[in-house]
């Protein structure tokens, strides 16, 4: 449990600063610090066991099926890193308290910092590589927040994005690598994986896994060629740079390589990839650092260089080298953090980090100077400081390792790297602190308060202590960690003197001498450096990301530019292609069903249908004509339903068709009456081709299906047998609609109801103040209007026809269950009858004389249908179970009562209400467009011999 708690504490701690900041900055820092301290304490409690060589473990099941569990373990390596993370974290919290300006939101800062801390601790304590991945990406995210902490700095934002992109990307690669590793071993638990060196290294997937995992490590640890993000991350506040970019995050990559060292190292692939990368990074970064004037940039590249050094050591694959790596990790953490904080102090005091504007601070800031000197000398590898010890050992193992059978190459390059680092270390001291005191500092510098220099001073102290008494202060930790890395018991012998014959001695001397020489030549070299053009990381990065983002945007937005016609064209082709592929790859037997004979009159109907369809395509730009032709198509479709023994369909189709056309005419009144010729002949041909493909495909499918028998007897046989006995109706279609599949019908009437509601709501939206409303108010009829809006003949005729039509509606409704008809058709017939009345005397006039709430009509229809269905519950039967019986009621003859009829009533009401509500909405649009309401049913009064209804036109 305790390990999980150590990892969890920082996360829990992350919640506090946001609150505690209300109690002031000190309280905030105090609380944050104490949480870290507590975690450190708990770690300490586990230390003895670890140092005894035990491994502390905590296992919590999270996602067993995935093998992702909250398993933690603590060994030497973990102890070392956890110690560094929490220890330096504590110092950073202290430092940041005094570093941050009043305006900076400190609560936020500490929250992010603790999130990061937790993620780091999680990484180093994870016993499950998937869990490790979780923390790994969390460090990328939290560092994104920390680097971008100063929101107003564009370089901050870009640096944050760059860091996230590079390290996050590496993390993703690592996910793949880890999954492969897990697949090879069969477990994602580190402790298991570490047991399976042979299985892993013998697998074909070893190299991919290695590369992917190293991608993660290299990006995180800013190894060449991924080193470029680190300097840009320096836009972050100095505490962040000190913490993430010297002590901890950038070491996560090293940690991972060390962690995986037992199973991944020892192969030529490992050696050449890791060692070479490390070497290149070390030398190149050190050289660049020499020419950076910005203190933080200088330190950043020096960090990269030292990370390279450690990487190289791990790459050697020998226990000895690995041990040195571990030792240098410790040393680097101490002196580099100290230097970063000092740089921050200089920046904080002098308001600049530019070496060109500094110098002579020695007398003004003696304390800072002392700290910097100690740390820099250690960085330069000057005895007796700790940097010297690890550098000696490094040069030692470099000199003993051959690269491509070349015994001295590594040693030489390592020496050059060391030489550069001597140079830039001295330069830091010289150009910032030595020389005459200047008068032109942006702000008069002096040593800060204790709070700010305490942390670096402490680290500087460590630098000396470790330097002087390595065996006492560091060996035990190195041993523990190195043993954990190498998997064999290590006990190091760290001495300052390796004897005259140790090549390291001479290499160091060469490095120091050369370094001093470089210092001397620096001005000239600087000129040369500035003269020589170099690739600028940021520009390259942006040169990749920005165009890619632009390209991505172009692709996505061009594809989805709102060209519906293209969407449909592509969709149609895709469907056709896929369907054809499906057919082509399957076996097909031609249908054997005997065909139906052809009679002349049906052929005539077919001709009418086809001609009308063709005409629609030809004349589709004349919209009214198109509607007339659609009328013909509808007529022919419905008559063919009648011919093919589907009377219900014929009735429905013809009435729906009329309703549709009237709706379209109503809309067309406001739309343009003609469609302009817009598409090019090419486009039209192309569209035509697509249309033909679709048409031919569907026709072929229809023919193929029609000409064969069903593979199994259709379920409708059951409907045919049970319609009367079970459903109480002789019109099987209607019984299916209201009984067997009444649930479909229930959904269907709701669709109609919704349609009406949508139309109503849309109308409301259109009639609100806005462009649409303005257009309507300004609307002028685009076609000449005849007088005599309500011709007398129609009005009078309607007075007789409306009642008859209503009667027909009732008739069709009542007989629906047994003969063609039913609620839906009846509803439409009544609707059409009313439409007739509206055309005669106008909607508003009619509606004004017969107040009907169409909303209520729809809702009641739905509710009646639902209630009828639910009624069955009370007989313990499922929804929509119908009941019917035969009632004799003197003097009437026996007749049938069926719940189906009630259900059908619901259908009837909904349909009627829906059509009416739609018409009402359109009529309101007409009124808004200047139509007026008549006060008389028709416009001419023969009895008076004058025109009625005339008043001022609106």
């Amino acid at each position: 449990m305790s390990l999980a708690l150590i990892a969890a504490l920082p996360f829990l701690g992350a919640l506090l600063p946001g609150l505690m900041i209300r109690a002031g900055k000190n309280a905030c820092a105090m609380v944050t610090g104490s949480v870290t301290a507590l975690a450190l304490l708990m770690l300490g409690l586990n230390a003895p066991a670890v140092l005894r060589g035990e491994v502390v473990q905590t296992r919590i099941e999270w996602i067993p099926s995935l093998g992702l569990n909250a398993n933690f373990f603590l060994d030497g390596l973990g102890l070392l890193f956890a110690g560094l993370i929490l220890g330096i974290g504590l110092l950073i919290i202290l430092y940041a308290r005094f570093y941050l300006a009043k305006s900076d939101p400190m609560g936020q800062f500490y929250t992010y910092l603790m999130l990061f801390q937790g993620a780091m601790v999680g990484i180093v304590l994870s016993d499950n590589i998937l869990l490790l991945l979780v923390f790994w990406e969390l460090t990328s995210l939290s560092s994104f927040l920390l680097i971008g902490y100063w929101k107003h700095l564009p370089e901050g934002r870009q640096g944050a994005r760059m860091a996230l992109t590079v390290t996050g990307g590496g993390g993703l690669a690592m996910i793949a690598g880890m999954l492969i590793l897990g697949n090879i071993v069969g477990s994602y638990d580190l402790s298991v994986i570490l047991e399976n060196k042979d299985a892993i290294q013998s697998s074909d997937w070893y190299l991919p896994a290695l590369i992917l995992i190293l991608l993660g490590a290299f990006t995180k640890s800013a190894q060449f060629p991924f080193h470029f993000w680190l300097p840009h991350a320096m836009a972050a506040p100095t505490p962040v740079s000190a913490y993430l970019h010297s002590a901890t995050m950038v070491k996560a990559g090293l940690f991972l390589m060390a962690r995986m060292w037992p199973v991944l190292s020892g192969t030529p692939e490992w050696f050449y990839i890791v060692a070479t990368t490390g070497l290149i990074t070390m030398v190149m970064a050190a050289k660049i650092a020499l020419f950076k004037d910005d203190l933080k940039a200088l330190l950043a590249f020096s960090t990269v260089s030292h990370l390279g050094l450690i990487t190289m050591l791990l790459g050697f694959g020998t226990p000895a080298a690995a041990t040195v790596a571990v030792f240098h990790i410790i040393n680097h953490a101490t002196f580099k953090a100290a230097l970063f904080m000092s740089a921050g102090i200089v920046d904080h005091e002098a308001h600049t980090r530019d070496l060109k504007r500094l110098g002579g601070l020695r007398t003004l800031m003696p304390i800072t100077f002392t700290i910097v000197t100690i740390a820099s000398l250690s960085m330069a590898g000057i005895p007796p400081l700790n940097g010297f010890l690890s550098k000696e050992l490094m040069l030692e193992s470099a000199s003993q390792t051959a690269w491509m059978a070349n015994p001295w190459l590594l040693g030489a390059l390592a020496t050059i790297g060391a030489l550069f680092s001597v140079a830039y270390s001295f330069r830091f001291i010289a150009h910032a602190f030595l020389g005459p005191v200047r008068t032109d500092y942006p702000s008069k510098p002096h040593d800060p308060g204790f709070g700010l220099w305490a942390a670096p001073a402490l680290l500087a102290g460590l630098v000396i202590l470790i330097g002087l008494f390595p065996m006492v202060t560091a060996a035990w930790l190195v041993n523990a960690a190195a043993s954990a890395v190498t998997g064999e018991v290590v006990s190091v012998k760290i001495t300052h003197w390796h004897g005259l014959y140790a090549p390291a001695l001479w290499m160091s001397l060469a490095a120091v001498g050369g370094g001093l020489l470089l210092m001397g030549l620096h001005p000239r070299l600087m000129a040369l450096w500035i003269a020589t053009p170099r690739p600028e990381a940021k520009r390259i990065f942006d040169g990749i990301v920005e165009p890619f983002a632009a390209l991505a945007g172009r692709i996505a937005n061009t594809l989805h530019d709102g060209a519906l016609t293209r969407y449909i064209a592509i969709g149609t082709l895709a469907i056709a292609a896929a369907s054809y592929y499906a057919f082509d790859t399957g076996s097909h037997a031609v249908g054997t069903r005997d065909l139906m004979p052809v009679h002349p009159v049906p052929v005539l109907g077919w001709l009418a249908l086809v001609l009308a369809t063709v005409a629609i395509v030809i004349y589709h730009r004349q919209r009214l004509l198109t509607l007339v032709l659609v009328g013909i198509v509808g007529l022919m479709v419905s008559v063919s339903f009648a011919y093919f023994s589907a009377p219900d369909l014929a009735l429905t189709q013809i009435s729906v068709e009329v309703a549709t056309i009237i709706l379209m005419l109503l809309a067309l009144n406001f739309l343009p009456k003609a469609t302009p010729m817009e598409s090019s002949p090419v486009r039209r041909t192309w569209d035509g081709a697509i249309a033909v493909i679709a048409g031919v495909g569907i026709a072929a499918l229809a023919y193929a299906l029609m000409t064969r028998d069903q593979a199994f007897s259709p379920i409708s046989e059951y409907h045919i047998t049970n319609s009367k006995p079970g459903g109480g109706g002789t019109n099987i279609v209607n019984v299916i609609l209201v009984d067997f599949r009444g649930y479909d019908t229930f959904g269907e009437i709701i669709v109609l109801g919704i349609a009406a509601l949508v139309i109503f709501a849309l109308t409301e939206a259109l009639l609100r103040a806005g462009p649409a409303n303005d257009r309507l108010l300004a609307w002028r009829p685009d076609q000449r209007r005849a007088g005599d809006r309500h011709p007398m003949m129609l009005v009078v005729a309607t007075r007789v026809m409306l009642p008859i039509a209503l009667m027909v509606g009732v008739f069709i409704f009542l007989r629906g269950h047994n003969e063609p008809g039913g609620g839906f058709i009846a509803g439409l017939i009544v609707a059409i009858a009313l439409i007739m009345q509206y055309m005669a005397s106008g909607f508003a006039w009619t509606a004004a004389r017969q107040k009907v709430d169409y909303h209520a009509l729809i809702a009641c229809g739905v509710l009646i249908a639902a209630a009828t269905g639910i009624g069955a519950w009370f007989n313990g039967l499922p929804f929509l179970t119908s009941a019917f019986g035969y009632v004799t009621l003197w003097p009437l003859e026996t007749f049938e009562l069926a719940t189906a009829a009630l259900f059908d009533l619901g259908v009837f009401l909904t349909v009627l209400g829906a059509v009416m509500l739609a018409l009402a909405s359109l009529s309101r649009i007409g009124l808004r467009a200047g139509e007026t309401i008549n006060v008389q049913p028709f416009d001419i009064d023969p009895s008076e011999g004058r025109t009625l209804n005339s008043g001022e036109v609106r």
Partner: protein, 504 residues
């Protein structure tokens, strides 16, 4: 034994919708109260159904007391129960947001349409009949048309016309497919279809394959699978925020239907369809993911970014589905649940931002918005979830998918991981230009002009909490889902539940 309760997820919203129209269409307060009550009721019922489905096997509800396959049956199994519950959770959150943000005051009939939308969605999840599935698709579609153009406006209406037109094509295709299926097999009941499709004569194979592909492409339209995804960005980015959030579950209906039919009726190794479906689906799914990721990176508005995120999430889901193994299906289901909540949250947050920013564009430097801190935190969280970054459920979901598709590791893993990177970069760019650049561009704007909208934040919080729960309890959740997936791949129980008569 839930019996009648199985029909409630459909009937409750249907009746409530009608009641709202009949009794309270002119009183917004009443509408809000009853709409929310109904949603909560739906949630309660769906949880009860979920429990029942987990404890007992699949259960059917014979509407009209007609036996399958002759009548229409509802089928309650783990999958349908899960989807209905997901819908209910989403519905509650979206309703809270709608009320909080006052979206329902900007047009008529929001709540009625919302209830009918829920009815359609639940109906689609529960039905055991292919044609009835069509009917409920239409119910939820037409309701969605209304919600999509809620409160009108030029672009919204034009996008609405496109949305309707494209989906009408889809509906036509659906009918072609169903007619073909009936024409070949003579049945519409899904279980019966499963039984009969397996015994289909060789001569019918080709035509049945055509029907199957057409059917799957209908679902692909709903699920926004390339090359049928074009409708989505325009629609979602122009829809009102809460509506777009509700739509997060609509794409899942396509995925659900693909699983339902692909696993039960056309399982891999089917004598007639074989691997036809997965062969076609995998490349399409990969393309979908890629296009979605590119869209996220290249998005010019926040709502379009969210829309493309939806596309990408469907790509990931379909990649998992296309493998048609229990493991991959489980991964798909988990990912679907996650991406529904995450996508919805993202759309709601986008609406929070857009509403305060008064501008939808991502690259316009505008003064900081009110409540920027809170909103940016919410955005960050949902971005992490959507991009599949640790620690939230998106990461777990992606791990599951990667793990389930280790056979096609080289191709699938690289696509998924690379697109993840693109997505991360996209979100990072968007977030920093929305919440950081603003501080550079102008002084703090005053939040006074914008109400705090507590309910809206509660809604977003609910969804994000859902994601956290999905992460913390990933173990049990995934275990449950794995059982669900396994049961899908052993359809015997499902078919048995339908109590089909002996085929003569």
């Amino acid at each position: 034994m839930m019996y009648h309760w199985i029909s409630v997820p459909v009937l409750l919203p249907a009746i409530m919708g009608a009641a709202i129209v009949l009794l309270m269409r002119n009183d917004l307060l009443l509408q809000r109260v009853f709409s929310l009550a109904a949603a909560l009721g739906l949630l309660a019922v769906s949880i009860a159904l979920l429990v029942a489905a987990s404890n007992e096997g699949p259960e059917i509800y014979m509407l009209g007391d007609w036996p399958a396959p002759f009548g229409i049956v509802l089928v309650l199994d783990r999958l349908s129960a899960m989807m209905v519950t997901l819908t209910a959770v989403l519905a509650v959150a979206v309703l809270l947001y709608t009320i909080g943000s006052g979206w329902d005051t900007r047009g008529r009939h929001f709540h009625a349409l919302f209830q009918f939308q829920l009815m359609g969605i639940c109906g689609a999840f529960l039905t055991g009949d292919a044609f009835n599935l069509f009917v409920f698709f239409e119910v939820l579609l037409i309701a969605s048309y209304g919600l999509m153009i809620h409160s009108g406006g030029k672009d919204r209406l034009r996008a609405g016309v496109q949305y309707v037109a494209f989906n009408l094509v889809g509906s036509s295709l659906f009918l072609f497919a169903l007619a073909a299926i009936y024409s070949i097999t003579g049945t519409l009941n899904i279980a019966d279809l499963a039984v009969k499709a397996a015994e289909l004569p060789q001569g019918d194979a080709a035509l049945f394959r055509v029907a199957a592909v057409m059917l799957m492409m209908v679902f692909a339209i709903k699920g926004a699978l390339v090359p049928l995804q074009f409708w989505l960005p325009g629609t979602y980015s122009n829809a009102p925020g809460p509506v777009a959030a509700l739509f997060a579950v609509m794409t899942k209906i396509g995925a659900y239907a693909v699983i339902r039919f692909g696993v039960i009726v056309l399982p891999p190794g089917h004598p007639v369809t074989g691997t036809l479906i997965s062969d076609l689906m995998l490349p399409a799914a990969l393309l979908t993911l890629i296009i979605g990721a590119l869209g996220i990176l290249g998005a010019t508005t926040l709502s379009r970014l969210a829309a493309f995120a939806a596309v990408a999430s469907m790509g990931t889901a379909f990649i998992a589905i296309s493998a048609f193994t229990p493991a991959s299906t489980a991964a798909a289901l988990y990912y679907m649940v996650h991406s529904t909540l995450a996508g919805a949250a993202l759309f709601l947050i986008a609406d929070l931002v857009t509403y305060r920013r008064a501008h939808d564009g991502l690259h316009q430097a505008l003064p900081p918005i009110a409540q920027a801190g809170l909103i940016s935190a919410l955005f960050m969280t949902s971005a992490i979830a959507t991009a599949g970054m640790p620690p939230l459920s998106g990461f777990i979901g992606k791990l599951l998918v990667l793990d389930a598709l280790r056979d096609q590791a080289a191709l699938v893993w690289s696509v998924i991981l690379v697109t993840s990177l693109i997505t991360i970069v996209g979100f990072a760019r968007a977030g920093s230009s929305l919440f950081w650049k603003a501080h550079a561009s102008a002084p703090e704007g005053d939040g006074a002009t914008h109400p705090a909208q507590a309910l809206s934040f509660v809604a977003v919080g609910t969804l994000l909490a859902g994601l956290v729960a999905l992460t913390v309890f990933a173990g049990p959740v995934i275990a449950w889902i794995e059982v669900t997936a396994a049961s899908l791949f052993d359809p015997a129980a499902y078919i048995a539940a339908n109590q089909l008569p002996e085929v003569k």
